[in-house]
Symmetry: C2
Subunit: 521 residues, 2 copies
């Protein structure tokens, strides 16, 4: 029986949903690692679970465990839940390690997400919780062909439109390969029949002309843009634009950013919550806020007999110690912080905790009097990339065409650049981001209103952006194992580090394994 | 003086806007063919202008001419304005040539745009009128990496995710070229220094491994997707997926649709009006509806002395003839229709009118009980392409994640395929679109509710989709010239055929030239 007729039969007998499910099994659709909503059955025997950390992992665990019948409690260091799923708005304050405090001055409705800011459409767990908790999503614009690529050492320092560099690079690559195919230099790799198809494919792919050349003309201008755009009426005839030579593009390094939007996690369609990323946190918090103890700084974790205890003090350090006791613990505290807490995890786990380092990242939100990037430069959302220490500028994906002040992401460097920013005097970081950005958008100088800078290594409750393994192959499975009566969870306990999906999936996995332990005990 | 220091000086003296304007002049930014809002000065001498057709071109002309002081009147064949800028919603009826009438049964809030459905972000005139008239826009999703490419003759007829074919084709192309570069076979075209950069660029561009091979592994899976996706907790480790061989992709013809979203008019960011494309028409109509005579079928156009007259009858054919007289005429009636009207245009213009043929296009809107493409297949907006006569399926770019019925564009063929659809008995077209589409989405069979089909050659007031020139080089300029006292306008009088922008730009150009004629007479 053919695959098709089998599917047809399933469809007839069991309906479309069953048919689709069968198709998935046959490899047609790619399922996520998310296995669907948990449906935990079995006697939870009055078991209590203490959850350390009220970020997405902790709240996911609390939500699912309570649904299954467990007694749950969350200890959260901050005055609110969400962890790195965090949004800064006008009136918010942020005090970093070292004591520097910023008060955000953005106008009503404007915000910046210092942490996660995108929800890929294959992050099924996040999407499903958003759906369940009524978190409204809107498209996030990752790729904007009208945004810039910028390199201080190329094109006289002038930003180039993404569409031009992208079309030109692809065109030159296609032309070079077509030339080789035409010379039959690839006969060992490509059959004669395929070579003919490849020539046709390269012509279309690279916007080549009829001679398979990537040159100034209608074919290339239809992708890279015209020097005089297509118009209407008497003066409507367009004029083609001149492509950049391959050599110029190669030496500009701008090819480094051409496929950023093709990465699995950045591919269109991609979403953001309407109103700021912390709408996701608030969605969870509305469900489990009642089991969260806020402003609770865990200072000690102990396993004694068949109990686990966590001792906490008020986060401002002023107040008595409180001891919480439970049958199990799910610990979502970042290892960067956990390593500094007095705990009695096994030597193996302790070593893993201490071995994890936290990637550095830095973000600056800048508010301007008007959306000049839209009004002057016709850039609606998306990202401009630069070799300057700001690395990129991302334009808001919401409230397009609106008047009044707008906030953009004025810097998002990682690694070495991020350390440089952290080393700057705190007061100078925003000004520096404005100074760099003005090399791409000269309007910065005149239109700047205020900004806020977040260096993740200076965020007291994470001390970094996300967990990086020194040796994931060696350590990962041991880190996921029950240690005493504790399971670790969080983005660091996943193969999706830094993503909310990783945090949630790790929590779901911990919950399932904890439940299996309890019900089969 | 360097460009940069000159710009700096302009910025200091005259501010950011002037600086940006200077940058544009220097070639940094690409201006549109739209020259900005009209500001017509001078005595209009009580001149009257009769506008034939209340589509976007006609309404643009009316709006701008009245603002400048002209007496304007529009004759419109239909009961409402907008022309091809048209949206069908539940309760709407559409009677095509031949008398077949469809009543749309979509539920509240669902719609289909039979004509234009996208507003590119470089269509500045449309965007500016939307802004002025309060038409709210939202992102249109053109490219969705999770949508399908489908060919009945390839992959056993199974749809493939765009991300897989796109990554694989690029990867194989990069690998082949890298191999040639590595063999120094391109030394005549690429310098040694550039060759090194090109190798690095191809590695990144093509997701090649360290040996510049496009193979199963982390590099390729990070773009095309994993066979077991990255997850969290104990089972989080992903498994890479197996790329398709180049030969399979070449023979699948799926490469034909890889760069659809890279075309200038399809590039992200791209918009649609919230609620349907006719919100644009309604925006204009709110401005100039008072000068429109609806249900007026023009049957005769005459130039006599320094006047032009148009005679009309009620569109249903029942009623007396009415004669409108004006000093000038802007005629936006499609040439397909105009050629059948009794007119006295010059022999040259008459020849051009008769020589223009109208491209065929066909659209079907299908409503389903639920958004199975989102719920089952995680496709949020975007387009799936197929070699079936439906050509494509486009998923709604609005109300993502919503429950209840959803409407998708179930067919949008052009040319030969569109003629095939027109030749089908009218009653069978929707069912046929469902039948074809079910080969891509088997859920069609169970979830289908209702549909509406629009074959543009059967739309009485256009008789086609958009105007195609037999010889644009030879005829275009004469078509734009004042003929007697009439100027032609509409998408057909532009280098942006079928686009609203083309219609508006042609009208703006006609208005400017008419005004120049009047004020310098």
């Amino acid at each position: 029986m053919s695959r098709r007729s089998l599917l047809g039969m399933i469809g007839t007998v069991a309906g479309a949903a069953a048919m689709y499910s069968a198709m998935s099994t046959m490899g047609l659709a790619q399922p996520s690692d998310w296995k669907g909503r948990l449906n935990l059955q079995g006697d939870t025997k009055g078991t209590s679970v203490l959850i350390l950390g009220g970020g997405l992992a902790g709240m996911t665990a609390a939500f699912e465990l309570r649904n299954a019948g467990y007694q749950v409690k969350i200890l959260e260091y901050r005055e609110k839940a969400g962890g790195r799923c965090w949004t800064l708005r006008g009136g918010d304050t942020f005090t970093e390690l070292g004591g520097f405090t910023q008060t955000v001055e953005f106008s009503e409705g404007n915000y910046i997400n210092p942490g996660p800011w995108r929800i890929p459409s294959d992050h099924f767990a996040v999407l499903d919780y958003c759906k369940r908790f009524g978190v409204k999503l809107e498209p996030f614009i990752q790729v904007n062909y009208n945004a810039y690529l910028h390199n201080t050492e190329a094109f006289d320092g002038k930003p180039q439109r993404f569409k031009e560099i992208s079309t030109d690079f692809r065109g030159h690559v296609a032309e070079l390969l077509a030339k080789v195919v035409d010379q039959k230099a690839l006969d060992a790799d490509v059959t004669e029949q395929d070579a003919e198809l490849l020539m046709a494919a390269l012509k279309r792919y690279g916007a080549l002309d009829d001679d398979h050349q990537y040159v100034k003309g209608e074919a290339s201008s239809a992708f890279r843009g015209w020097s005089k755009p297509e118009g209407g009426g008497a003066g409507g005839k367009p004029e083609p634009s001149e492509p950049h030579p391959l050599s110029v593009i190669l030496q500009s390094s701008m090819w480094r950013n051409l496929t950023a939007g093709d990465n699995l996690h950045m591919q269109s369609t991609i979403f953001q919550p309407v109103g700021g990323m912390d709408m996701v946190a608030k969605g969870f918090e509305a469900q489990v806020g009642d089991v969260i103890t806020y402003n609770a700084k865990v200072i000690r974790i102990r396993h004694e007999g068949d109990k686990v205890t966590a001792t906490w003090i008020p986060s401002n350090g002023e107040g008595p110690e409180t001891v919480e006791t439970a049958d199990y613990c799910i610990c979502t505290i970042p290892f960067s912080v956990l390593g500094q807490i007095d705990h009695d995890f096994s030597a193996r786990m302790s070593g893993i905790i201490d071995n994890m380092y936290y990637e550095s990242a830095f973000k600056v939100g800048l508010e301007f009097k008007r959306r000049f990037w839209e009004q002057d430069e016709h850039i609606y959302g998306g990202i401009s990339y630069t070799n300057l220490p700001i690395t990129l500028i991302s334009y808001p994906s919401t409230n397009f065409f609106s008047d009044g002040p707008g906030v953009l992401l004025g810097a998002y460097p990682w690694g070495a650049y991020a350390y440089q920013w952290n080393a700057l005097p705190a007061e100078e970081r925003v000004a520096k981001a404005v100074e760099y950005g003005s090399q791409i958008h000269p309007q910065y100088n005149e239109e700047f209103l205020s900004g806020v800078a977040v260096g993740w290594h200076r965020v007291p409750w994470v001390l970094g952006c996300y967990g990086e393994w020194k040796d994931r192959e060696a350590d990962y499975m041991d880190a996921t194992a029950m240690d005493g009566r504790t399971l670790m969870a969080g983005e660091h306990i996943s193969y999706l580090p830094a993503w909310m999906e990783g945090a949630i999936l790790s929590a779901l996995d911990a919950v399932e394994r904890l439940h299996a332990t309890v019900t089969t005990a």
